[in-house]
Symmetry: C2
Subunit: 104 residues, 2 copies
């Protein structure tokens, strides 16, 4: 897994928008198709499609095609990766806090 700042930021773009959080909340109860998400969110079709693309690219959501329908669900693997990434980003690294600053 590559860890560029850009890719890392993309993972968390899934969570920094209220509508996407609302979509994820709906997906917590299991796989949903786009039409159902459009119904439950108050949102246009192209707008949902836009958000689903971001969610899928973040790795947090995965999609499954079934004929004309697209079904979305939360990706366990993606969520797990996000957890690890969040941990990594917020955990102090080995080289201790010895950098003294300014006038100190």
């Amino acid at each position: 897994m590559e860890l560029t700042p850009e890719k890392n930021a993309n993972v968390f773009k899934a969570f920094c928008d209220e509508k996407r959080l609302a979509i994820l909340e709906l997906l917590r109860s299991g796989e949903k198709c786009a039409c159902m998400l459009i119904d439950q969110m108050e949102i246009g079709q192209s707008s949902l499609s836009y958000h689903m693309k971001i969610l899928c690219e973040s790795g947090i959501v995965e999609s499954r095609q079934e004929g004309k329908w697209t079904h979305y669900k939360i990706s366990e693997q993606g969520s797990h990766k996000a957890m690890l990434l969040l941990k990594a980003i917020t955990t102090p690294n080995a080289t201790a806090e010895d950098t003294r600053c300014c006038n100190q």
Copy 2:
């Protein structure tokens, strides 16, 4: 802890911007004052101030005033809360995935 979608989104705004990720990376090695962050990031003073405000409001970073200087560090508590929140957002909820969709 209140859990409005808005507040939840704000937590993750800390992580969805490359510059803020870079700032967090610097803070992983310990507390830093603003002047040092300005040096190491290629960023203007008011721009850093803007990002630090977002980071602090997300709870991920905490600041400490010392005379004229402001020191920033990653908040252990804030990071922990973010982990819990991420877990909550991506974990299937009790009511199983029984909602059948469309033509299924």
